[in-house]
Amino acid sequence: MTSTSDRRATVTTPTDTQILITREFDAPSDLVYRAFTTPELLRRWWHANRSEVTDVEMDVRVGGLWRWAAKAFNGYEFAFYGEYREVVPNERLVTTETFSGVPDAQAVNTTTFTGKDGRTHLEILVEHQSKANRDGQLQSGMEDGMQDALTLLEELVREQM
């Protein structure tokens, strides 16, 4: 199945309201955690090569607020923001998350860093309040205009390899 997966993130939808993102990292969990909780480190990867990060604020403690803002290359400015609900250093972060484009749709993100033998299994579980909100977030990935002509079947076959 997916145990031989390369460096691709795996995205699944365990229930109607959830998105689960998983990935293995060749680094211990304290470093992965640090890359998620240090503004100048987050700036280096969160843009995903499709936007310019314009502001990163994070007060990493229970009740602390966070806000990450960016400007897409097409000029669209957006931000994600929320509050830290649970902070277990190097292991677990629970935050609320709101996307500026849909301010009434708040999700709860649980990010789990599981370290083993110098590697880290990362899981980000996004829990929305409704299926519509969940679907909206998934669809937002299409706004970057990077769609190509890959068909479903090609993709399914590729997953097998």
């Binding site: 109607d16 604020e57 990493v60």
Partner: protein, 132 residues
């Protein structure tokens, strides 16, 4: 196995690893239940259960051929859904490739403190960004 109870559409149907395997098999051509049982190495009731879910969301179609029921993939309902997930997945794949590079730098710093001056690594609990 996973949470069949919440499966209401193609989205959830493909979240279950075993159902993905069935879809992968059907993507290569029609299969009978017996074929699928053999190919996946799973008990027939399990395969039948998953096929029922896949039929309910319109992802597979079935026809009778003699005493066999032959299943085939009906990709239309999946395509839209899959494109959403695929593009979202691509976003995170790119993010994580960049994160890999950050982690390599952090590992190098730990191995040889002081030699790599490019990243301040000591600011774990910093509230506000420091730059610009």
């Amino acid at each position: 196995m996973a949470r069949a109870a919440t499966t209401t559409d193609a989205f959830n149907a493909v979240a279950e690893p075993r159902r993905r395997e069935i879809l992968d098999a059907l993507a290569r051509g029609e299969r009978s239940v017996t074929d699928l049982v053999e190919q996946l190495g799973v008990a027939q009731p399990v395969v039948s259960k998953h096929l029922r879910v896949l039929r309910e969301v319109g992802l597979v179609q079935v026809r009778d051929e003699g005493r066999q029921r032959i299943y085939r993939l009906e990709p239309a309902p999946l395509r839209e859904v899959y494109e959403w997930v695929r593009d979202y997945e691509r976003l995170w794949t790119e993010r994580f490739e960049l994160l890999d590079a950050v982690l390599e730098d952090l590992k190098a710093q730990q191995a040889q403190p002081g030699r790599h001056g490019s990243q301040p690594a000591e600011s774990q609990t910093t509230d506000k960004e420091r730059e610009s």
